[in-house]
Symmetry: C2
Subunit: 288 residues, 2 copies
């Protein structure tokens, strides 16, 4: 049962629908949180499927909303898009705000095991359990879900889908961190949140989850080849290799010249929305 | 002759084209300036027509680029979009940075007459003369031009077009300040930049320019009816009245529920791009 209320922070008309921000008290994170939701015009008539968008390092609920240009097609497809924040807010642990890749803005969509983080940093439960319940209780979205994200959020989207076979109609990612157990961003985050016992890390590592083989969910991934983090952090060839080894369905598109920015996301977001619309059973948008 | 060089600040692939920022020394403004340009894929083959986008109060060259979502359709139409900054930068006159609606970020696209502003604040000449010459000298754009903008920039676009009959293939605006001589934003800016002699103000006032009747250029204007500045600053009914009185062609669309934000611009920018494409002789984009 969801007892928490949500409070409207702002609302703006957008492509015939509504772009809103809501504030609520998160029980899982034990702090006040804000999330964004785009409701397409169709939501005025009946509950609509929802795409969860998980953002990357340093982001909050607003980056995708203002920069990706996703509302245009989502309005035509009849798809809601929910953008959670990327970490708990309002806490002030020592060092929490010191670096862009750990602490605030960098929750990595894990349930932390280490003190002091475990008291608040439970973003996996927040985005897969508490927030979906809250959104469905208060807003006109159905229980049909898809999930996507960028970079740290691409990692989050892939992990959420692979850990819950059958839950999401589809999953996609832009420039995801596919093997956080073995890259600088992931090793810093996982050792901080999960501790030094690397056996706990596999539950949040896309490559390890595919290795484990619990899910056969197809993965749709876009990656820019001019991405500054390609070789140091992202390593899409590892995803390709593990998927080939386990015959896990993967569509990995590599794009010459595109970087890690929202210009890359904006360029290809419509392909992702159409992919999710197809799997959510929405009427395909034949134009554009 | 344009002797000034331009220096590439950043470049990102976007919808098959290139989103770039350039730095240059402005002779007209006597300071270093940055502008943004989107070059569509077609610009790799031949010079393309250019849409000038003039932004509103507090903006710089980046707001439209990151928030409007215009590159998608511009890439298909084969249209470059240049976004100048909204005021000189790097000067530090007393009070220049104290308010959001005067001084830096608020050049109002006029050539200032009053000291100390007249030494730098010559944004009309910058956006209509120096910058177009510079862009054409260094980048693959043709001499076919259209112009648009938002709020203060909508005012700027309308004024630039009405003062130069025949120059721009088309002009449009989002929530423009149509009568700056008689609204708080305009009176503050014009008295500061142009002085107390209101006869100098008419040259930069859309309603007054239509009254004068030098141009018959049709105006295409979108205005949201939930715009916080509708009654205090924008007053589209004045534009309608003067256009009716002088039989000046105007398409004024009023949109229920839309506000002054980039969500409003993003929703309707494609209509403006198609309007300009038609007048620029570009092949109409039949889909989407």
């Amino acid at each position: 049962m969801v007892s928490t209320q949500i409070e409207l922070v702002s609302e703006q008309r957008c492509f015939g629908g509504w772009q809103r921000r809501y504030r609520h008290q998160s029980q899982v994170l034990d702090c006040e949180m804000i999330f964004a939701i785009f409701l397409p015009p169709q939501a005025a008539e009946q509950p609509v499927p929802v795409l969860w968008w998980l953002s990357g390092l340093t982001c909050n609920d607003e980056n995708f909303v203002t920069k990706a240009g996703a509302q245009r097609l989502a309005a035509r497809l009849g798809m809601a898009i929910v953008c959670p924040d990327t970490s708990p807010r309002g806490t002030d642990f020592p060092g929490e705000h010191d670096s862009y890749d750990f602490g605030s803005g960098a929750g990595f969509y894990v349930n932390a095991l280490e003190a002091p983080w475990h008291a608040h940093y439970r973003m996996y439960d927040y985005v897969t359990d508490e927030l979906p319940q809250l959104v469905r209780a208060h807003l006109p979205v159905s229980d049909q879900e898809a999930i996507s994200g960028h970079s740290m959020g691409g990692h989050g989207a892939l992990v959420c889908a692979l850990r819950q076979p059958g839950r999401y109609a589809s999953v996609s990612a832009f420039a995801p961190i596919v093997n956080p157990s073995d890259c600088p961003w992931g090793e810093k985050a996982f050792s901080g949140y999960l501790g030094d016992d690397r056996s706990a890390w596999a539950a949040y590592d896309t490559c390890a989850l595919i290795e484990r083989g619990d899910s056969r969910q197809p993965l749709f991934v876009d990656q820019g080849l001019a991405d500054n983090f390609l070789d140091s952090q992202l390593r899409p060839e590892r995803l390709r290799a593990v998927c080939e080894r386990h015959q896990h369905p993967l569509e990995l598109r590599l794009h010459d010249g595109y970087d890690h920015s929202y210009f890359f996301i904006a360029t290809f977001i419509d392909d992702h929305l159409r992919y999710h619309a197809k799997h959510l059973g929405l009427i395909p948008d034949l134009e554009s």
